[in-house]
């Protein structure tokens, strides 16, 4: 893949970072041009896990295509499923029972915490600290257990269906979630002790990978990546779906625009998600967990777009229906794809070690980028 050697300046060398590289968390392939330790250019080569999910979904019915989206951003699979379910509901104009809405939001926020936990551990591991990874997995494991009990799976749950959720929550759900909240609150301080406050970590992160607010918007960055640059882009606040309007939470904004700001956004977001869960966990309304739907769903002719906020940023489902039982065309606007495009801009001129830190703070999930 090392092409165009002639076009590089003297002293530049080209290195393939990936597709098998410990810091790319999967099969991302970056062709980087470096001069000494300084990065001149980063060029992503994608597609190592491209499954053409958009094409696959064209042959699946409106009930079936939802499960495939768990395989894109597998760390926020609930939220991906949620977006698809909302999009179908928008087309069918189904009113989702309030119980289902609350359960969905609870699951979304639990997923967000689990995703950020994994990111936190992996991020620290990119910087050479292995221990936080295991500590993060302890809390993530508690969430996975809750998911397993209610949804029947730990990672790709397929719990959201058009009209509500697949099953009612498990009788233990509320107790387990409260236990998790207590566990999380007792451990969250350790994150700061181990990583956030550490002088080495702060020096590695501060002033690295700068992304201005204007650039963040222009590159289409969303989620914590853009919020670290001070761009307000939380879909839950701006274009509220489900019951997010009624909830009391804060959109975390940091203005640093560097890796540390992005790090702090995610760490602080975990606490916001905990606060959302606390507001809802004792107030799950009684009622149906699923609206009555027809056995075969047929969407009217038209176009439907649903934006949601996943752990990585804005996820969009653009669905074109021709009136049949399968979508005519589906486009998934994945947050990672746009966030990755800013990497080259951010990385130029910084050191090789910083590239790893930047990739960590972008929180890349490769199947989400490739789709």
């Amino acid at each position: 893949m090392v092409e165009e050697i002639g076009s590089t300046a003297a002293g530049d060398i080209i290195i393939n970072v990936g597709p098998q590289h410990p810091a790319t968390h999967g099969v991302l392939h970056l062709v980087i041009t470096i001069n000494g330790e300084t990065i001149q250019k980063v060029e992503p080569h994608l597609g190592y896990i491209h499954r053409s999910i958009e094409k696959m979904c064209e042959s699946l019915t409106y009930r079936q295509f939802i499960y495939v989206t768990s395989r894109m951003d597998y760390l926020s699979s609930h939220i991906n499923n949620h977006a698809c379910a909302l999009c179908v509901e928008k087309g069918l104009q189904i009113e989702v029972p309030s119980r289902a809405q609350v359960i969905r939001v609870l699951m979304d926020e639990l997923t967000r915490i689990a995703s950020h936990e994994l990111w936190w551990g992996a991020m620290a591991m990119d910087l050479g600290a292995f221990t936080p990874f295991f500590h993060a997995f302890r809390e993530r494991e508690a969430i996975n257990d809750i998911m397993e009990e209610t949804c029947g799976a730990r990672l790709t749950m397929n719990y959201m269906v058009p009209g509500g959720v697949m099953q009612d929550i498990h009788p233990n759900f509320q107790r387990r979630v409260k236990e998790f909240i207590a566990l999380f609150k007792s451990k969250v301080n350790e994150y700061n002790e181990l990583v956030t406050g550490n002088i080495i970590f702060q020096n590695r992160m501060k002033g690295v990978g700068n992304l201005s607010a204007a650039d963040a918007i222009s590159f289409g960055c969303t989620g914590p990546t853009a919020r670290g640059s001070g761009v307000s882009c939380d879909i839950r606040k701006l274009y509220p779906y489900e019951i997010y309007e009624t909830l009391n939470f804060e959109e975390i904004l940091e203005t640093g625009g560097d890796s540390f700001a992005r790090y702090m956004v995610r760490v602080r977001e975990m606490s916001q998600s905990i606060s959302i869960i606390e507001q809802l966990i004792d107030n799950i309304p009684e009622g149906d967990f699923q609206a009555k739907t027809k056995a075969v769903l047929k969407l009217p002719k038209g176009e439907f777009y649903q934006r949601v906020e996943t752990a990585r940023g804005e996820f969009g489902v653009y669905m074109v229906s021709e009136g049949g039982t399968t979508p005519y065309r589906i486009k998934y606007r994945s947050p990672g794809f746009s966030n990755l495009s800013a990497l080259d801009h951010m990385a130029r001129g910084s050191k090789l070690g910083d590239l790893v830190a930047m990739m960590g703070t972008l929180d890349l999930v490769i199947p989400d980028i490739d789709r």
């Binding site: 597609g47 491209h50 958009e54 222009s218 590159f219 969009g316 653009y318 486009k331």
Partner: protein
């Protein structure tokens, strides 16, 4: 800005565009030749300032292709959908990656998946598909791949 006000503003600015009804957001139809000019206006006009291109894709309608651009204005929070109809054979359109940098990657994706040629694009190469897939466009409806596609 309300949807009506937005529509009025756009009509005043671009008298030639047509509106399409029924969508979630105001939708305008633009001719391929005009698109770059329109895009510059949408981005730079102070009361519109669509600075966030959050979705860029293409739809294969068998007879023709349609480019769909979803725009958002981060300062006003209004949205606009722009559709551009392209020929089925040798589709080509001006790039907008100089206006919204995110279009760079999204246009490369559309280029390989639908074969749309983006004029003046800085780096129009395959992004996701491996080498040797030039000219084969998987997301077109008439694409056939007997080895990799499993029919249910």
């Amino acid at each position: 800005m309300t949807i009506e006000a937005l529509k009025e503003k756009i009509t005043a600015l671009l008298p030639s565009v047509l509106f399409e009804e029924g969508g979630q957001w105001p939708t305008i139809l633009v001719e391929p030749a005009d698109w770059h000019k329109v895009a510059v206006l949408l981005r730079q006009d102070d009361s519109l300032s669509f600075d966030f291109l959050f979705c860029l894709t293409c739809i294969d309608w068998k007879t023709h292709l349609t480019m769909v651009y979803h725009l958002d204005a981060t300062s006003y929070r209004h949205n606009l959908v722009v559709k551009v109809k392209l020929e089925k054979v040798n589709p080509a359109i001006e790039t907008v990656s100089d206006i919204w940098q995110t279009a760079n990657f999204h246009e490369r994706e559309v280029y390989e998946m639908f074969g749309v040629n983006f004029l003046n694009h800085p780096d129009l190469r395959l992004l996701i598909l491996p080498d040797g897939w030039e000219g084969k466009n998987p997301l077109l409806k008439d694409f056939e791949d007997p080895i990799n596609m499993i029919k249910l």
